[in-house]
C-alpha cells in the first residue's frame, strides 16, 4: 500500500488537487474562509501590480499622445489654423460684399422711389467729423464727372440729407456735409410748416430764423423746403433736439440732430437731376468752383 502510494504519489496529489479545484468551482462565489484569505492575499499583491502596469501604460500612452503623436498633430493643427484663417477672411469678405450689396440695393430702391436720376457712390474719406482736423466737414466719394456728377448736386442717404457736391474730379467728388458751417439748406418743420435755414455749426446743425413765438419743440422733424432746387422737397434734414430763446437776437436757438448718420456713412446717393430736368445752371457751377 505504502509503495503504491509512493509510486503514484504525483498522480494521487494531482487527482486530489483536481478534486479540490472542482470543489472550489462548486462552492458559492463567497467561497470558504480559506479561499477568501488566499484570494485576498493574491489580490493584495495583484492589485498594486496591475495598478503599476496601468500607470506605466498610461504614461506611455500619454507620452505618445502628448509628444510623439503631436508632431504630426501640430503640423495638422497649423494647416487647419491657416485654413481656418483663410476661411474666416473669405467669410468676412463675403459678409462685407453682402452688406455692401444690401446697402446699395437699399439706396437704389430709395433713389428709384424718388423718381430722380441718381448715382450710388461709395465714401472714400471723411474729414472734420471729430472737430480736431479743422472746421470743414466734407467727405470724398468715388464717383465724379465720369458719372455725370456736377457741383451743387444734392447728396442724400435713405435716412436724410448728407450734403451737396462742391468739387468734382474725373473719378471722385467732394461733398460738403450739412454739418459744415458753409452749408445752408432751406428747411421746413414737418409738423408746423415753419420755415428756416438749417446751417452747419461746429457742433451740429442749427435751424436759424425761427421767431420766438413760433411753435417748435424738441422732436420735431425738419425737412428740406425745396426752394433752391438743389435738394428734393421733403427730404429729412434732422430732428430738433433743443429749443432755446437766443440772448442776442429775436429768434430761437434751435439745435438739430442730423437725420443721416454722417459718421458711419459708407455709400451715398447723388441726385443727378429730376427726370428731364435741365443741367444745373452755369452760375451755380462757378459758385461751387469758387468755394
Amino acid at each position: 500500500m505504502t509503495s503504491f502510494v509512493k509510486k503514484h504519489r504525483v498522480v494521487i496529489v494531482s487527482v486530489l488537487l483536481c478534486l479540490f479545484s472542482l470543489y472550489l468551482v462548486s462552492t458559492p462565489r463567497s467561497g470558504t474562509g480559506g479561499e477568501i484569505i488566499v484570494r485576498k492575499v493574491v489580490l493584495f499583491f495583484a492589485v498594486p501590480l496591475e495598478l503599476s502596469v496601468n500607470a506605466v501604460q498610461k504614461t506611455a500612452k500619454d507620452a505618445w499622445n502628448g509628444y510623439i503623436f503631436l508632431v504630426n498633430v501640430k503640423k495638422e493643427n497649423d494647416e487647419l489654423k491657416n485654413s481656418l484663417n483663410s476661411l474666416a477672411e473669405e467669410n468676412n469678405k463675403l459678409r462685407e460684399e453682402l452688406a455692401l450689396k444690401t446697402r446699395i440695393e437699399t439706396l437704389e430702391d430709395f433713389g428709384a422711389g424718388l423718381r430722380l436720376k441718381s448715382v450710388v457712390a461709395g465714401v472714400v474719406s471723411v474729414s472734420g467729423l471729430g472737430g480736431s482736423s479743422g472746421w470743414t466737414r466734407t467727405l470724398v466719394i468715388n464717383k465724379g464727372e465720369n458719372y455725370g456728377i456736377q457741383a451743387d448736386m444734392p447728396v442724400i442717404s435713405p435716412a436724410g440729407v448728407v450734403g451737396r457736391i462742391i468739387n468734382t474730379g474725373e473719378t471722385t467728388s467732394t461733398v460738403l456735409l450739412l454739418t459744415d458751417p458753409r452749408s445752408n439748406i432751406n428747411a421746413v418743420a414737418q409738423r408746423t410748416r415753419l420755415r428756416g435755414i438749417a446751417e452747419g455749426t461746429s457742433d451740429g446743425i442749427t435751424l436759424k430764423y425761427i421767431n420766438r413765438p413760433a411753435d417748435i419743440a424738441a422732436g420735431d422733424v425738419i425737412l428740406t423746403a425745396g426752394l433752391a432746387d438743389i435738394f428734393p422737397k421733403g427730404t429729412p434734414i434732422g430732428t430738433v433736439v433743443s429749443v432755446e430763446d437766443s440772448k442776442d437776437t429775436f429768434f430761437k436757438d434751435v439745435r438739430l440732430k442730423p437725420a443721416a448718420d454722417i459718421g458711419n456713412l459708407e455709400e451715398v446717393l447723388v441726385i443727378a437731376a429730376a427726370p428731364g430736368a435741365p443741367a444745373p445752371p452755369e452760375e451755380t457751377k462757378k459758385k461751387a468752383k469758387l468755394r
Partner: protein, 159 residues
Amino acid sequence: MRNFFVFLPITILYLSVRTTVLPHLPLPDITLLAVFYAVTRRAAISGAFLAFTLGYTEDVFLGSIIGSASFGLVAAFSIAHLSARWVDFSETFVRILASLALSLIKGLSVYLILRSNGFEAGILPVFAIAATTAITTGAAFSVFFRAEKAVARFEGRAL
C-alpha cells in the same frame, strides 16, 4: 520551491499585462507553459502544487470561477507528467505539439467548467490561445531556463 520563485512572479507579471495592457489579444498561455516546463524539468509533487497555485492565481487575476484554471492546469500537468514516461519532450517539435495539446486540454476543461456554470464562454479563443502558446513554446522555455538559472545563481547552486 525554486519553481515558485521563478514562475510565480513571471505568472503575476504576465497576468497583469494580460488583464491591463492587452486584454483582448489571445496571448500565449504562459502559466501552462510554465507548468509544462516544470514537467520537462522533472518536477513531481511540487509541479502539481505549482500548477494548482498558478491556476488559482490566474483565476483570481482574471476574475474567473475560482478553481477552473487550477483544475485545467493540474489536469494538464498530470497528463504531461504521465506522458513523460513514453514521450521525449526534449525535441522542440514534440514540445510544440505537446504545448498545443496541453493548452487545448486546459482550455477545453475551463470552457466546460464555465459552460456548466452557466457562463456564455466562446470556444474559439481556446484554439487561438492554444496556437499562440504552441508557437511561443521555444521562446518561453528559453526565458524560463534563464530565469531558473538566475534564481539558482542567487541561491548559490548550479542548475
